[in-house]
C-alpha cells in the first residue's frame, strides 16, 4: 500500500511539474512582452483592481490551509472534519471565482477586452498594441488559472462527498492528498500571478 501511495505521489508531482512549465511558459511570454512594452504594461497594470487581487490572494491562501487541514483530518480518521474542510476549500474557491467574475465584468464595461476586441479609450499611448497584449495575457492566464480553480472545486466536492461516506482513513487517504497537492499548485500559481499583474508599478 505504501508503494502505491508513493507511486501515486510521484505521478502527481510529475503532473504538477508539467503545470509549472505550462503556466511558466505563459509567464515567460508575459515577461517578454512586458520587456517590449514597458510603459503600456505599467499603465495597464493600474487598471486592474488591487483590492480584488489582494482579497483573492488571501482567499486562496486560506483555501490552501483548509485543503491541508482536510488531508490531516483524513489521515487522523476524522471523516466529518475532513469533509468540512473540503467544503470550506470549495467555498473559498467559489468566493475567488465570484470576485474574478466581478472583475471581468467590470473590466469589460471599461472596454478592457483581450486582443483585437480591446476598446478602451484614454490610453496614454493611443494606437499602441501593448495594452491589448497586456489584457490578452491577463485574460488568458487568469482564465486558465480560473479553469484550474473550477476543476479543483469539482474534484474537492467529489472528495467531500466520499469523505462524508467514510471512504478515507489513515490507511487510505491518497485521493485527498493528491487533490490537495493540485490545489496547492493552483494557489502557488496565483502567488506569482498576483504581484506580476496587480502590483508592478
Amino acid at each position: 500500500m505504501e508503494q502505491q501511495f508513493d507511486t501515486s505521489k510521484i505521478g502527481m508531482w510529475l503532473f504538477l511539474a508539467t503545470e509549472v512549465l505550462t503556466f511558466g511558459a505563459l509567464f515567460a511570454g508575459f515577461g517578454l512582452m512586458q520587456n517590449k512594452y514597458p510603459q503600456e504594461f505599467v499603465e495597464a497594470h493600474e487598471k486592474l483592481k488591487r483590492w480584488a487581487g489582494s482579497t483573492n490572494t488571501v482567499v486562496l491562501l486560506v483555501s490552501s490551509f483548509t485543503a491541508v487541514m482536510a488531508v490531516l483530518m483524513a489521515r487522523t480518521n476524522q471523516a466529518k472534519k475532513c469533509a468540512m474542510y473540503l467544503w470550506l476549500t470549495v467555498g473559498c474557491a467559489g468566493i475567488f471565482m465570484c470576485i474574478k467574475a466581478y472583475e471581468y465584468t467590470s473590466d469589460f464595461e471599461e472596454g478592457l477586452y483581450p486582443a483585437k476586441y480591446y476598446s478602451h479609450v484614454g490610453d496614454l499611448i493611443p494606437g499602441s498594441h501593448g495594452y491589448a497584449t497586456f489584457f490578452s495575457f491577463y485574460f488568458m492566464m487568469t482564465g486558465l488559472h480560473g479553469l484550474h480553480v473550477l476543476i479543483g472545486m469539482g474534484l474537492m466536492s467529489w472528495l467531500a462527498i466520499r469523505a462524508s461516506r467514510g471512504e478515507f482513513s489513515d490507511k487510505y487517504y491518497t485521493p485527498v492528498d493528491l487533490v490537495a497537492l493540485f490545489w496547492h499548485l493552483v494557489d502557488l500559481i496565483w502567488i506569482y500571478l498576483f504581484p506580476l499583474y496587480y502590483l508592478i508599478t
Binding site: 505504501e2 501511495f5 508513493d6 505521489k9 510521484i10 508531482w13 510529475l14 504538477l16 511539474a17 508539467t18 503545470e19 509549472v20 512549465l21 511558466g24 511558459a25 509567464f27 515567460a28 515577461g31 517578454l32 520587456n35 517590449k36 488591487r50 489582494s54 490572494t57 488571501v58 491562501l61 486560506v62 490552501s64 490551509f65 485543503a67 491541508v68 487541514m69 490531516l72 483530518m73 489521515r75 487522523t76 476524522q78 489513515d170 490537495a180 497537492l181 496547492h184 494557489d187 502557488l188 502567488i191 506569482y192 498576483f194 504581484p195 506580476l196 502590483l199 508592478i200 508599478t201
Partner: protein
C-alpha cells in the same frame, strides 16, 4: 508511511503548524502589497518576485509536505522551476541583447537616373544584369 504516522499521532501540533504557516503567508502578502506602494524603480519586480518565491517555497515545503516527504518529489517539483528558469534566462538573453545591426557589406542604393531618350537602349543594357 512512517513519517506520516508520526505526524498523524499529533493532529493538534500539525494544526498549529499549519495555522502559523498561514499567518506567515498572510503577513508576507501584506508586505508585498505594502512594498508595491513604495517606488524602488526596477527593484520593485525583484522584491515582488522574491517575496512570491518565499511564499511559494513555504507552501511547497509545509503545505505540500515536501519537507518531510521522500526527496524524489522535491526533485521533480524543483526541476520544473529550474527548466522554466532556463527558458526565461535564454529568452531574456536573446531579447535583451538584440542590436538589430545592419549587414556590414551593405551598399547604399545606387541613385536611379532618369533615362534620356537617346540613351534608352544603353540604359536597358545595363539593366539586363
Amino acid at each position: 508511511m512512517s513519517t506520516h504516522t508520526e505526524h498523524a499521532e499529533n493532529p493538534k501540533a500539525e494544526t498549529v503548524k499549519y495555522s502559523i504557516t498561514l499567518v506567515a503567508l498572510l503577513i508576507l502578502t501584506a508586505i508585498t502589497i505594502g512594498a508595491s506602494y513604495i517606488n524602488f524603480g526596477s527593484g520593485n519586480v525583484v522584491i515582488a518576485l522574491t517575496i512570491a518565491t518565499i511564499k511559494g517555497s513555504i507552501v511547497a515545503l509545509i503545505f505540500m509536505h515536501l519537507l518531510h516527504d521522500k526527496p524524489v518529489n522535491a526533485v521533480i517539483g524543483v526541476a520544473g522551476f529550474i527548466f522554466l528558469g532556463i527558458f526565461l534566462l535564454f529568452d531574456f538573453l536573446d531579447v535583451g541583447s538584440r542590436t538589430n545591426p545592419q549587414p556590414i557589406n551593405l551598399h547604399p542604393m545606387p541613385a536611379v537616373t532618369a533615362p534620356a531618350t537617346a540613351g534608352a537602349p544603353a540604359a536597358a543594357d545595363t539593366k539586363k544584369e
